[in-house]
Symmetry: C2
Amino acid sequence: MIKTVGIVGLGLIGGSMAKSIKKCSDCRVYAFDIKESTMKQALESGAIDGRLEDLSTVDLLVVALFPQDTVNYVKEHAGQLHPGAIICDICGVKEKVIPEAAAACRASGVEFIGCHPMAGREKWGFENSDENLFSHASMIMTPEGADEQKVQELEDFWKKIGFGRTVRTTAENHDRMIGYTSQLAHVLSNAYIKNPLSMEFSGYTGGSFQDLTRVAKLNPVMWSELFFCNRENLLRDVSVLIDRLEEYRQALLNNDPEEMTRLLKEGSDKKEELLRKKEKEQ
Amino acid sequence: MIKTVGIVGLGLIGGSMAKSIKKCSDCRVYAFDIKESTMKQALESGAIDGRLEDLSTVDLLVVALFPQDTVNYVKEHAGQLHPGAIICDICGVKEKVIPEAAAACRASGVEFIGCHPMAGREKWGFENSDENLFSHASMIMTPEGADEQKVQELEDFWKKIGFGRTVRTTAENHDRMIGYTSQLAHVLSNAYIKNPLSMEFSGYTGGSFQDLTRVAKLNPVMWSELFFCNRENLLRDVSVLIDRLEEYRQALLNNDPEEMTRLLKEGSDKKEELLRKKEKEQ
C-alpha cells in the first residue's frame, strides 16, 4: 500500500503531483526542491506535509526532474529506499532514462516504473502547479519487467489521484509515439508563430491560429534536452512533415488545384478515420 | 435600416446567418438554396421566413457561396436589387471577389461590402449550422469605397446578431493575413495528421495533438478554391514555414542542443510577446 510519498522536484509536474495526492488521498507527502523559496511556498500552502529527509520512509518516490538529472538522482539514491518501495520518473522520454534507472533500482530491491503524465501547461514552476492538472488525463507507464503487483498498485494510485486512464507500453514505443504526438507538435507550433505576420493576428482568426500556436511557449532548455533524448524519432517525424508540406507547396507552384484537392482530401479522410476510431473507443 | 434580408446559399455559414438573424433581430429572412431538401429543412425549422423570390424587396443580400460562384451570382443579380440596398459576400478570400462584384453593384446603385466571418467548423452544410456560430467572433469587413453610412449600418447589424467585433481592412491586407492565420493553419493541420503514427495516438496526447489536428478535416474542394484565390500569399507562407522547420531539423542533424534551445527560445519569446499584446488589447 502506498501511504507515504516522496517527491523530488516541485516544478509544474512535481507540484501538481503533491497537490493532487493531498486532494485525493490520505497519503503523507514529503518533498525536496533545490529552491528554498519553492520549499517554503509548498509547505505554507499545505501542498506537502514536510521536507523529504529520510528516503527509507517512503513507499513511492516520484522523481520529477529533467531526464539526465533523473538518472543521476536515481543512481545516487535508490539504495536509501526500503526494499519493495517504488520509484517512478515523470520524464517525457524513456529510452534514455529507464534502463539505467531501473538497473540501479533492481540492485537495491526497489521497483522502478517509468511514468509520463500526458498533461502540461504553457507555464511552468510550482507557482503554476494545479491539483486538477491530471484530471481525466492519460498516464503512460513503461514498467519493463517491474513486479506486476507493484505496477497494478501504482496504476490504482494514479487513478485515485485523478488520472482518467493508464496506458502501458515499452520505452521504445513510448518514445516513438511521443516524438510525433507531442514533440513534433511543439516544434511545429514554435515554428508556425515565427512568421513576420504573427503579431498582427488580432481579429484575423476564428480559433485555428490560437490552437496551432498554443504550445509555442515552452521551456526551451527542457524541450531541447527532451528532443535530443529522442533525436532519431523526432528527426524522422520533422522530415516526414516537411516532405508532406512540400507536396502542398508543389501543388501551388504547379498551379494544380486538382492535386491540392486530392492532398486535402487525403488529410481530411485520415482525420475522419481517426474521429471514428476515437468514437468507438469511448 | 435593414429589415428584410436575403440569403443565397444555406450552407454552414448561410444557414448560421439565417438562424442568428432570426434569433437576434426582427428581420424577415428569405433564402435560396440549390438543394430542395435544404430549402425544406430551413423552412420547416423556422430558420427562414420564406423563399427568396423577389430580390427588390431585400435591404441586405448575403451571398453565401464559394468565391467564383459569388462573383457570378452578384454580376447576374445586382441589377434586381433596389438602389441603396447592400450586398455582401462571406468569402475567405477578397482580392479575387471584391473588385468584380463591387463594380457590378456600383453600376446598379447597390452597395457591395466585402465580409468574412471568422468562424467555422469541421462539419459543413445546413445540418451543421448553428444560431451561435458567430457569438463573440470577429467579422472582417473590406468596404473599399462603399458608402460610410451603409458600412456602419452593416457593422451595427453584425454586432446585433452576435459578432463580438468587426475589423475593417483592405482586400489586399485581408488576403495577406488570412493566408497565414487561417489557410496555412489548415494546410499544416492537414499535413500533420498524415504521419503513419497518427492512428495510434490514443492515450499518447495531452491536448497538443488534438489542437494541431482539429482543422485537418475540411471541405477539400472549397479550400482548394480558396487557396488558389490566394496563391501567392499562401505559397510564401508555406515556404516560410518549411524554411523555419528546416532549421530545427538541421539542429537535430548537427547534434546541436544549444542551437535547438536558441530556436525554441525564439519561438517561445514571440508567443509571449503575442500573449502580452493580446492582454493589453482586452
